[in-house]
């Protein structure tokens, strides 16, 4: 059996699944308990699991992640919500310098099994301080696993894998996907980190995407097929760390072309990393330049007329691929 649920609903189902599965899983964040989250992603959790395991916090991002880290080091498996991924900047020391490094600095004496969930990305007209795609911030920090699902089904399975991982995981929920529906089977779902998925097979070019860019890449692939006779293979990376380089390199070895599609602003986005890996390890198979479609290197504007000019659109993806394959 399966049901059609939103990405938003998948979040609460995923958290509930893991809290049922393991008593040591606890959940904290701003407005997550009584109110069910500002994105309504955590409704019902307080009722089911009680106020010891589901906690509202003050507006204190460093305290939230500190609490999660200290608890993770001493036997718990905390899930911490940072409401918008932009706010990771206010607790970046905890993320990048404490959580990510603790296990290494202590030569493995501690483990830090926690998940930081956060609403990532643009498209909602929230302006420069509430719209950033910052999964690249996390990818560049050694010691963090980085996950960003594109469907409700993936969300649940990857979230379970994240919670069950003994390493800290940064879990990016793309907020523009919250209303999107997808089919999800009944029962417990547990997926595997570090596994990309080929969403659509193709032969002429490999299009690599993540999160909200996956449906756009798929839409572009249809256009490319229908209007340009180009066969694009679309890969959903699903996790950036660990990175499924095998799927990636095998695909490019076949197609000889790569286009990355990311919401990150231009410089040092994960697209650059993907392209660099290909350019070093798969060079001989390349039949043309490696192309990145990204948000331009600007803060995001608020007005719809402006924001629409910035995030990678289906048109821009099509255009980039056509130009490459011509």
């Amino acid at each position: 059996m399966a049901e059609l649920i939103t990405y938003r609903q998948a979040v609460s189902r995923a958290i509930a699944q893991e809290m049922r599965h393991d008593e040591s899983v606890v959940f904290l964040g701003e407005d997550v308990a009584a109110a069910g989250g500002v994105f309504k992603t955590t409704k019902g959790l307080l009722d089911e699991f009680g106020d010891q395991r589901v906690r509202d916090t003050p507006i204190s991002e460093e305290a939230i992640l500190g609490a999660a880290m200290g608890a993770a080091m001493t036997g718990m498996r905390p899930i911490a919500e940072i409401m918008f991924s932009d706010f990771l900047a206010t607790c970046w020391d905890l993320v990048a310098v404490e959580i990510a490094k603790m296990r290494y600095m202590t030569a493995g004496q501690v483990r830090v099994p926690l998940v930081v969930r956060t609403a990532n990305g643009g498209g909602l007209r929230f302006g420069a301080q509430h719209s950033q795609s910052v999964e690249n911030w996390a990818m560049m920090i050694p010691g963090l696993k980085v996950v960003a699902p594109s469907t409700p089904h993936d969300l649940i399975g990857l979230f379970a894998a994240a919670v069950r991982s003994d390493d800290p995981v940064m879990f990016f929920e793309q907020k523009s996907l919250y209303p999107v529906k997808g089919e999800v089977p009944d029962g417990e779902i547990v997926d595997q980190l570090g596994t990309a998925r080929t969403v659509r097979a193709g032969t002429d070019v490999t299009v690599v995407a993540l999160a909200a860019m996956v449906p756009r890449a798929v839409a572009a692939a249809s256009v490319l097929h229908d209007e340009h006779g180009i066969s694009a293979e679309v890969i959903d990376l699903r996790s950036l760390v660990p990175l499924d380089t095998a799927t990636l390199l095998q695909s490019v070895a076949r197609t000889g072309r790569i286009v990355t599609v990311e919401e990150n602003p231009r410089l040092c986005g994960w697209g650059a990393e993907i392209v660099s890996i290909v350019g070093e390890e798969c060079f001989d198979a390349l039949r043309g330049p490696m192309v990145r479609v990204t948000t331009p290197h600007i803060p995001l504007p608020s007005a719809d007329a402006l924001e629409d000019a910035t995030l990678p659109s289906v048109d821009r993806i099509v255009e980039a691929v056509v130009k490459l394959c011509r």
């Binding site: 003050p58 460093e62 007209r125 302006g127 420069a128 301080q129 290197h297 007005a303």
Partner: protein
């Protein structure tokens, strides 16, 4: 609560100005809400309906060259400094005529020309920035005072602590104003704070006096505002003011605010600054006509601003690529 009746001390003109500001903000925000519901304001917006007396009381106590720093809940603070309503409405509607040309939106209203140095959407971030503006005024000997508004929930984030301490140590000409509306987004401040008065009970941690004021009483606010601003201007250093108030609606746009007990809402609605200040002015002999004229003018302004904004063009897509750098552009390469 420090509540002194100083009616006599506040000039009539100032009182009418405060009433006008309160009414203008109220009508503006009611319209903004409607436009949001009509799908014309996108993204999000945070109203201060019920809280206007704080902006009005402070606005009337500030010198033209004083500086305002506020939050995503900043329509009131932006308007009371004289920012033209059509330009604020334009920004909400994402038009090229907006104060930020559509780049900022409701959460980032800024009008440097009017001393509105920005609306900041990251909790706490603007407190140290406001301290910096005050430091600059001190260095330049400009005599300007910086007033920085924020909410109760903001008192629990680290930047609050750092800014207050720095301002106190450097004796900066800055006034920190905590608008305590009892709630953060949906969570009561009392549930997550170790003290009863989130700002005032922490003043002593920075060597400051605790100041609590009725934030629904523009005159009480104004009195304190005038006092602490003068103190700052005179080199007496920073102050931390906690103004008690309430937002009538939810935290942002679609939030119905149902997490609040009805009696609490009712009690605060009974203290709505618009009718209560109106009654007080009438009682003090201001003519009904005069107040009605202010209200009609406010309505007309809101209508005109709405119309102007609706008629205004959307920004051209290319505008997205300007203003990253001081050279006007966005290029990161040579």
């Amino acid at each position: 609560m420090t509540e002194t009746t100083t009616v006599a001390a506040i000039p009539r003109q100032t009182r009418l100005r405060m009433y006008r500001d309160i009414v203008r903000v109220r009508r503006f925000e009611e319209r903004a809400y409607k436009l949001f519901m009509d799908g014309l304001v996108k993204g999000t917006s945070h109203l201060s309906i019920g809280m206007e007396a704080i902006a009005a009381g402070f606005g009337a106590a500030m010198r033209d060259d004083d500086l305002t720093f506020c939050t995503y809940r900043g329509h009131a603070h932006t308007l009371v400094r004289g920012t033209p309503m059509p330009r604020v409405m334009g920004e909400l509607l994402g038009r090229s005529t907006g104060v930020c040309g559509g780049k900022g939106g409701s959460m980032h209203l800024t009008s440097v020309e009017h001393g509105v140095m920005g609306s900041y959407a990251i909790i706490g971030a603007h407190l140290p920035i406001a301290a910096g503006a005050a430091w600059s005024a001190q260095l330049r000997g400009s005599d300007q005072v910086t007033v920085c508004f924020f909410g109760d929930g903001t008192t629990n984030i680290g930047a609050f602590h750092e800014a207050l301490n720095l301002a106190a140590v450097w004796e900066l000409p800055v006034v920190f104003v905590c608008e305590n509306n009892l709630y953060m987004e949906y969570t009561a401040i009392a549930d997550v704070t170790a003290v009863e008065r989130p700002a005032a009970d922490r003043a002593s941690a920075y060597g400051l006096a605790p100041i609590v004021v009725d934030g629904n009483d523009p005159e009480a606010v104004h009195e304190q505002a005038a006092r602490v601003i003068q103190r700052a201007r005179d080199g007496g250093g920073p102050s931390l003011v906690e103004a008690l108030t309430y937002r009538h609606g939810g935290h942002s746009r679609a939030d119905p605010g149902t997490y609040r007990p009805q009696e609490e809402i009712d009690a605060w609605l009974a203290r709505d600054p618009v009718p209560s200040y109106r009654r007080r002015l009438l009682g003090d002999g201001v003519a009904e006509d005069e107040l009605a004229a202010i209200e009609m003018e406010a309505d007309a302004d809101v209508d005109a601003a709405t119309e102007a904004a609706r008629q205004a063009p959307f920004p051209a897509p290319e505008e997205a690529f300007t203003d990253v750098w001081a050279d006007g552009g966005s290029s990161w390469r040579n």
